[in-house]
Symmetry: C2
Subunit: 150 residues, 2 copies
DNA sequence: AAAGATTGAGTTCTCAATCTTC
DNA sequence: GAAGATTGAGAACTCAATCTTT
């Protein structure tokens, strides 16, 4: 039987959690700007880099990024306009398309990655014990299980 | 001496953390829509409700919300257009303004709060032990300290 | 009809510039 | 000049509608 409101501890925890995320992503975005990328750009490029042939179907990107379909499509269009990715028709499936990393896209993430990884460590992991990291991973996994179904 | 890349554990933790936040806020936003509010609206209204006279200066709101100055200003204009808040001149400081909760704003958050609080518990706190909640609060506070300075 | 993907309109956010008062 | 706040233009996101192929 849970009360209608949050406890003090929960309230403080919830607000702190939201604040951390807001500041963290704001800061990471700011630092990535130096390399001409947004966090969203970076995430797209990382996924393309991680994969053979450096190409993915939009629905596959969507699955890992957890974006709305149209958000992804619009974002890819903008990245394409900037030369970071290209689109190719898919032979296997006439409806489908490939999103392909371009040389410029590869250069961009190669240039941005070291500083970004550094920032993630400096702003996040450097302040956590191994045990805390493990806890965050366990909690996140658990929450994701339930968020799947709403 | 930290390596240039994240460890496997860090990589998995980082991605899971980002995913949790994405899904969590997406879900909370969806559920708030039923009450005609966004999460952003809700956060503004909560802060106004928490305070004597139900009014705040924009710079004070900005400090707790961690938003860009102009984002706040634009958002307040939209909320004002929808009748959720109003703006009044500030007597003490000719440059300043008050953001004031309207009756409609009070009604809106009163109507939305129970379901929203419920959702936060159902999607977040119900899956955490007391110890884990405490860990999250401690970690968040620690990270915020450092994020202050960049 | 369902799956893969895009489009357009409207909303929200960011960045830089501006305006006023201190 | 600095602080408090707004504005406008462009970028990014959401929602619903659409198009094509399966």
């Amino acid at each position: 039987m849970s009360s209608r409101w949050l406890t003090d501890e929960q309230e403080r925890t919830w607000r702190a959690y939201l604040q951390v995320h807001a500041r963290l992503t704001a800061q990471l975005n700011r630092e990535l700007q130096a390399a001409g990328l947004s966090l969203a750009d970076y995430e797209v490029l990382v996924n393309l880099t991680d994969v053979p042939d450096e190409r993915l179907r939009p629905y596959a990107l969507q699955a890992t990024l957890e974006w709305e379909q149209s958000r992804l499509s619009h974002h890819l269009s903008r990245m394409q306009r900037r030369g970071l990715v290209s689109r190719e028709d898919c032979d296997d499936d006439g409806r489908g398309a490939w999103v392909v990393l371009t040389a410029a896209g590869r250069d961009a993430i190669t240039a941005a990655a070291p500083a970004h990884v550094d920032a993630v460590k400096r702003l996040f992991f450097d302040h956590l014990t191994a045990r805390q990291v493990s806890t965050i991973r366990i909690i996140s996994t658990r929450l994701l299980d339930h968020l799947d179904r709403g």
